[in-house]
């Protein structure tokens, strides 16, 4: 004798089973809760060396820089945005008349003014929404970028002309 399951139950089981399957697939992928970024308070007396790890933290996190930029992947083929390995030494030579700090500052505040050859524009303005880095946070990021192959020289007192109150 075979047990005959009513049609409605079979359909309900199919709907619930299919839904459960997709919900299960959803549990298999990496689970990451993304919190809204908080302003990082940086005291004025930070040394340049202190600024580097904070800049690295902003680079990886709040600034979302690592979503696009790689460090140490080499070659532009295959990359959508420039690799930043050695940017600390290249920055001073990119645009004539701009120091490394000024070049990096311009790249963060006015990214479309100069686009690295071979790449499309696409860098967001870092001090505007949605990223909204503060001027102090941007200085810390510059310190970190200088440390990638160069000698960090930026300080918390460095005044960039694009920053609020900058010259």
């Amino acid at each position: 004798m075979t047990l005959r399951v009513p049609l409605l139950f079979r359909i309900a089981a199919l709907v619930a089973g299919t839904t459960a399957l997709y919900a299960y697939i959803g549990q298999l992928v990496p689970q990451k809760e993304v919190q809204p970024p908080q302003v990082i308070e940086l005291p004025d007396d930070l040394t340049t060396q202190d600024m580097i790890p904070i800049g690295a933290q902003i680079f990886q996190g709040k600034g979302l820089c690592s979503t696009c930029h790689t460090i140490g992947k080499g070659g532009s083929a295959g990359l959508r945005f420039p690799d930043l390995d050695g940017i600390g030494s290249r920055a001073a030579t990119r645009i004539e008349g701009l120091s490394d700090v000024e070049y990096l500052g311009q790249s963060l505040y006015e990214p479309d003014v100069f686009v690295v050859p071979g790449f499309n524009p696409g860098m967001p303005v870092m001090n505007k929404p949605p990223l909204e880095l503060t001027d102090q946070e941007i200085l810390a990021v510059i310190a970190y970028l200088q440390s990638l192959g160069g000698a960090p020289s930026v300080t918390m007192q460095t005044e960039l002309r694009w920053a609020a109150g900058g010259s």
Binding site: T19, P30, P130
Partner: protein
């Protein structure tokens, strides 16, 4: 001491305790009682003190300023999940209500032009599903509006500041939508065919206009325009026609048709499984086939509409685009690949089963295994992630989080190629189904077949060429390769279809279509497709909305609520699943109401079949 005395002693002690407490309560309660002989008008110092306190409280209450709340909480599940579920339910029913009139109108028009009454009946059968669905759409719409106003008052205030001039047209259009829908449905067989078709046309136009207005509100949240950096309105036109407005309009319209077709197919499957006679089965088999045909026909161009939407998102904000494809949401697209792969497999399986109901199918059945291999391979490539979840030792062994071989399949060059071949393969399944049981009689049939094969393999070659070439060029060049890939597939589908129409005009029938002779598994496949479509709609609705992350209006108005974080994908899929289950429970109600509606003016099912 006896046991009896001990019990009496305990009871006595308890009674003494109770008596002591009662006496103490009486004494304390009378502590400040007004003396019995005092004048009634005379108050005690305590009464005066209490009255003064009350007066002070009242004065403070009166002086309290009005502070409008930014947010209000929702019990248990929180405001965001409450609004999320309501919005999704509203959108699912709205999608259905907008889509069904579209293909019901087209089917009715085919019936009118060809004079075939079966099409008219089929269009009516589809329309029967609308009445209850329309009421549920409106109910959830109202529920959603009240929830938003109550739970997110500040944000809603801002949206009203920007979009209030669009509210009255929206309400008026909604009124017209109801008028056209009910006159279209209840007027079936009562108006002349042309008047009835006009009502159907107007129903579609008004419905589309409603969707376009609502899309302006939600796309503004995603890609705001026409406002200052601080959010002040500068141009309503720009706010309305923002970056993602038209891509969302097109994407939604196509997706709605695909979704609506799948739900109508599920209804037909349900009725097929319930059917008592062969004629009923024949009718609902045909209806299910048409529903699935509509769903898959609309589904094929959907990825191309998705490309356009994604490119507009990038054009508006690279940050948002990269959050979508490379950041917090990148893994969501692996879930999407699993869903779409399942949809393609199920749709093809249904078509292949369907070929079995046609005599003379053997000529074409041999191709199915090749199509299955192509589809399965493309599915596998599409679902391959770029980076893999791995332990530290596995990462070391691979030399990074990317697999040394499979990692190459996780990039866009491979995925674009896979999805285009997937679409071409499914199109071929359709073509085989269409040809089964027919033999072309035109003199140029050999040349026509060769031309179709050349176009098919030519398009596949173009897609694969650009897919491989993409690995060897810079990103700014590679990103443009999706355009020739897409265009070659679209052109191939259009050209092959046109040739096929002429090739099989006046074709000789080599076998009859035996409607109603499908195995029951085919009908469960239709229901599976409908559930998968619904789940996909829920998932993609989440990513579209979730891309704003901690912004109500991206870059303009920040979410300051406790729910401002982006939840895990696991949590999101759970919410989507619950919503889908609620939707199908309600859909059961819609199907039940539709089955009560009868068959006005169309005779019974047997006659029509």
């Amino acid at each position: 001491m006896t046991r009896g005395k001990l019990v009496l002693g305990i009871i006595g002690a308890l009674l003494a305790l109770v008596a002591t407490v009662r006496i103490a309560q009486w004494l304390v309660g009378g502590e400040y009682r007004t003396p019995q002989r005092a004048d009634e008008a005379q108050t005690t110092p305590r009464d005066q003190g209490l009255a003064d306190e009350r007066a002070a409280d009242e004065k403070a209450d009166q002086a309290r300023p009005y502070v409008p709340p930014d947010y209000r909480p929702f019990p248990k599940i929180g405001s965001r999940v409450a609004v999320w579920v309501l919005a999704q339910l509203h959108l699912l029913f709205a999608a259905f209500v907008l889509a069904v009139p579209l293909f019901a109108f087209i089917i009715e028009l085919i019936g009118y032009v060809t004079g075939d009454k079966r099409y008219d009946k089929l269009a009516y059968e589809f329309t029967k599903l609308l009445s209850a669905a329309f009421s549920l759409t409106a109910t959830f719409g109202a529920f959603l509006t009240f929830a938003l106003v109550a739970l997110y008052p500040k944000f809603m205030n801002y949206l009203m500041e920007v979009f209030s001039p669009t509210f009255l047209p929206y309400v008026l259009l909604f009124f017209f939508e109801a008028a056209f829908l009910y006159s279209y449905y209840y007027g079936w067989g009562k108006f002349s065919p042309r008047v009835h078709l006009f009502l159907g046309l107007m129903l579609n136009l008004v419905g589309t206009a409603i969707m376009f207005i609502a899309n302006a509100w939600l796309t503004f949240m995603m890609s705001p325009a026409g406002v200052s950096e601080k959010g002040a309105l500068l141009s309503l036109g720009d706010a309305f026609m923002n970056y993602t407005w038209m891509p969302i309009n097109i994407h939604r319209m196509i997706a709605n048709v695909a979704f609506g077709g799948s739900i109508a197919g599920a209804y037909a499957a349900f009725k097929y499984l319930q059917a008592k006679t062969d004629d009923e089965r024949a009718h609902y088999d045909w209806m299910g086939y048409i529903g699935n045909f509509v769903a898959i026909s609309a589904f094929l161009p959907l990825p191309f509409a998705g490309y356009w939407l994604a490119s507009e998102i990038y054009a508006f904000s690279q940050t948002m685009g990269l959050t979508m494809m490379g950041g917090a949401f990148s893994w969501l697209f692996i879930i999407q690949a699993a869903l779409i792969g399942n949809l393609f497999l199920a749709a093809n399986y249904y078509l292949w089963l369907g070929m079995g109901r046609i005599e003379g199918v053997q000529n074409y059945q041999k191709f199915i295994k090749y199509l299955l291999i192509a589809i399965a391979l493309c599915f596998a490539v599409w679902a391959t992630p770029r980076s893999i979840l791995a332990s530290v030792s596995e990462v070391r062994a691979m030399g990074g989080s990317t697999h040394p071989v499979l990692g190459y399949l996780g990039v866009m060059s491979a995925k674009n190629t896979a999805v285009n071949i997937l679409i071409l393969s499914t199109f071929m399944s359709f073509l085989l189904f269409r040809r089964t049981g027919k033999e072309a009689t035109v003199t140029w049939r050999r040349a026509g077949n060769l031309a179709q094969q050349a176009i098919f393999f030519g398009a596949a070659a173009i897609v694969i060429f650009y897919g491989i070439y993409g690995y060897f060029v810079e990103a700014r060049v590679r990103i443009k390769f999706s355009i020739p890939q897409v265009l070659s597939v679209l052109a191939a589908m259009a050209l092959i279809t046109v040739i096929d129409v002429f090739l099989y005009r006046g074709a000789r029938r080599t076998g009859e279509v035996r409607w109603g002779r499908l195995p029951r598994i085919s009908q469960y496949t239709l229901i599976f497709i409908a559930v998968s479509f619904t789940w996909l709609m829920g998932l993609m609705g989440y990513v579209r909305s979730g891309l704003r992350q901690h912004w109500h209006v991206y870059g303009v108005m920040r979410d300051q609520s406790v729910d401002a974080f982006t939840p895990t994908l696991g949590f999101a899929t759970q919410v989507v699943s619950v919503t889908v289950l609620v939707f199908f429970a309600l859909l059961g109600f819609v199907f039940w109401i539709a089955s009560l509606a009868g068959d006005h003016g169309h005779g019974d099912t047997e006659e029509a079949a």
